[in-house]
């Protein structure tokens, strides 16, 4: 900014009014009206729900809104007054259920696997696309590999059904080989692989875009110099490409750590098709919150799980960022 202003004399002066002249007030009013629609959306769907987090400390049974609900819009305040405070008992209850360990294991386990595998594969894909000699082919490959990102999880659930159902592709193969068929929808042991495969299938192409964009921006002279010094392709990748990519990798991983207690609800919910025997391997925190909420149990319980998810995620992203800033200030997100 400063550099640009210096290039055009006069700009610096006009762009940096220090007094509130009438023109300045008018301009700021214009800016504020531009912000208004976005602020309304942010307020309605991001900030207004925040006070409802206190439900985690309440006993709350959701009632259908009465006919005169417009008058009852003191809802936010009623949260603090009407319902019984129960302290941490909602948290105690959910952490003492036998499901708690299973849900945490699934949430963290899947997310860590997705993070690590996803990172390796998407960086590898970006480097491979970059190295391919035929640029047109590289573009075609990448365009195709990117496509699954735009296909909804429900369609993926159909695809999975076509492969693993009673007369799906896999069972046809087993039949052809003279083996017994497998009922995948009641065999939990296969599903961790199915979830991991589907996650990689859907997201790798998309995740590699940012790495690819960063890669192509690197100074080619570095590679030329390395080649002159006798570094082979592999050495160039490990000694130039990866170190230069590290800031981007770190930035994206900070964000991923913040989402470690969130999961792909659509995937874990829709792929198993509501099959009971798969609950042990498909219930992540998001799914647990949703199921608890829909089970008709008091809303405070689901709210406690959601509260845990929000707060821990927030603390995690702040902590990771703090650590990164200590180690290497340039790489921190904020």
């Amino acid at each position: 900014m400063a550099a640009k202003s210096a290039l055009t004399p006069g700009t610096a002066k006009t762009l940096k009014h220090n007094k509130w002249g009438s023109g300045e007030i008018k301009r700021h009013l214009a800016f504020l009206t531009m912000l208004l629609p976005g602020l309304v959306f942010l307020f309605c769907f991001s900030y207004m729900p925040m006070p409802a987090l206190v439900l985690a400390f309440k006993r709350y049974q959701l009632a259908t809104p009465p006919a005169d609900y417009w008058i009852q819009n003191r809802f936010i305040y009623s949260l603090f007054i009407d319902n019984e405070w129960v302290g941490f008992s909602n948290f105690e209850y959910i952490f003492n259920t036998p499901d708690a360990a299973m849900v945490l294991r699934n949430t963290l386990g899947y997310n860590i696997v997705f993070m690590v595998l996803g990172l390796i594969l998407s960086v590898a894909l970006a480097i491979m696309v970059n190295e391919l000699r035929n640029r047109i082919l590289a573009k075609v490959y990448h365009t195709i590999l990117f496509m699954p990102y735009f296909i909804s999880w429900i369609i993926v659930a159909y695809v999975v059904y076509a492969f693993v159902s009673a007369n799906g592709v896999f069972n046809q193969w087993l039949k052809a080989l003279g083996q017994n068929t497998i009922n995948f929808y009641s065999s939990a042991q296969y599903w961790p692989f199915i979830f991991v495969f589907c996650n990689i299938w859907k997201y790798t192409g998309n995740n590699s875009i940012i790495y690819l964009a960063t890669l192509t921006g690197f100074d080619q002279e570095l590679y030329e110099a390395a080649a002159i010094d006798g570094a082979n392709k592999w050495k160039q990748i490990t000694n130039i490409t990866i170190p230069l990519l590290t800031p981007t990798i770190v930035l994206l991983q900070i964000l991923a750590v913040g989402r470690i207690f969130n999961g792909d609800f659509d995937m874990f919910y829709s792929l198993p098709n509501g099959s009971g025997p798969l609950k042990n391997v498909s219930t992540t925190l998001d799914v647990y919150v949703y199921n608890t909420m829909k089970s008709g149990a008091q809303l405070g319980l689901a709210s406690a799980a959601a509260f845990f998810q929000s707060i821990v995620g927030f603390v995690l992203v702040l902590t990771t960022n703090l650590i990164v800033r200590k180690v290497s200030p340039d790489m921190a997100m904020f």
Binding site: L39, L62, Y69, F150, N167, N273, A302
Partner: protein
């Protein structure tokens, strides 16, 4: 090294080295093979669905799913388009939600990102933070549900399908960098000297320059609304407001459950026989993802460009 690059002979060497620096024939072949396998793994699952939707019901029951239809048939599609009502309402809801939601999203994101990209807007940091904070901290599903149902009263209506998705803090940050890097200060400055107000500057000068960025926002907003399933499941009760994704999810769910039961309880077998056939459901999946697959080659050149803007930090 760098001081010598201006000399002509050195340039030649550099050029020669660039050729040397390409991967070897062998490595290139290996890479191509890896890519062809990856492409097949990506495309075959979709292909299986397409094939199933064009297979006759009898062949699908007898031979199961495969890579080539044992018996071609367009019966499923004929059935689908004749009984429009099953999927027609869902299609209508999805299209309305996608169009209205996309317009709202482009407008609100485009407008919000502009002032916070301007160095002479005094509160740009505060408003950037208001948007960015929602990326770091969310109130969660229960709070969202309670707010939509009890305060905003958008539950069980078509509003639920697009309003919560009509703004995106992530795309605000992307658009902010886009304005910063693609709209020169000098252009804005000259508009001001000509006496144009901020709104006029935005509409007549800045927005035409921001079309690639806004197109990317539009595409991603449209796809996120088209593909959304969670909000519909969470907030909508009546079938007349269902969108496509939720409708086809329910169909798949019902059929699997009944098929499993039917193998145990004989009486259910007749019920299963009356359910929408398997090819019919695959045809439903096809018309749900069809528009996206068909539009994909046309819009993909935009989003690669648009996404790379997001890679710019700050």
């Amino acid at each position: 090294m760098t001081s010598q690059t201006h000399a002509t002979p050195k340039v030649k060497i550099v050029k020669k080295n660039r050729d040397m620096n390409e991967i070897s024939n062998g490595a290139n072949t290996v890479l191509n093979i890896v890519f062809i396998i990856a492409v097949l793994v990506t495309v075959i699952p979709i292909w299986v669905i397409i094939v199933a939707s064009f297979t006759s019901e009898k062949a699908l029951t007898t031979y199961g799913y495969g890579f080539w239809p044992q018996e071609w048939s367009v019966e499923a599609y004929k059935f689908l388009f004749s009984k429009g009502s099953i999927i027609g309402t869902a299609y209508k809801n999805t299209i309305i939600a996608t169009v209205v939601g996309t317009v709202l999203c482009v407008a609100s994101v485009g407008l919000y990102a502009y002032p916070i990209s301007r160095a002479d807007f005094r509160w740009r940091r505060a408003f950037t933070f208001i948007s960015f904070f929602t990326q770091l901290f969310t109130a969660g599903t229960v709070a969202f549900y309670v707010t939509c149902r009890q305060i905003l009263h958008i539950g069980n209506s078509i509003w639920a399908l697009f309003l919560p998705l009509s703004f995106s803090a992530y795309w605000v940050l992307v658009m902010r960098s886009f304005y910063k890097s693609n709209v020169p200060d000098a252009v804005i400055e000259s508009a001001r000297i000509d006496g144009a107000g901020e709104w006029r500057t935005l509409i007549q000068i800045v927005l035409p320059l921001a079309v690639p960025g806004l197109a990317t926002v539009a595409l991603f907003a449209a796809i996120s609304i088209w593909n959304n399933f969670f909000n519909c499941m969470l907030l909508v009760d009546e079938a007349k407001y269902y969108n496509l994704q939720y409708t086809i999810y329910q169909t798949l769910n019902n059929i699997r459950f009944l098929r499993e039961m039917a193998s145990q309880v004989g009486a259910l077998a007749s019920m299963v026989a009356n359910l929408p056939s398997e090819t019919f459901r695959m045809a439903m999946a096809m018309v749900t993802m069809g528009p996206i697959i068909l539009a994909y080659p046309f819009f993909q050149k935009y989003f690669v460009k648009g996404l790379t803007i997001g890679a710019v930090k700050g």
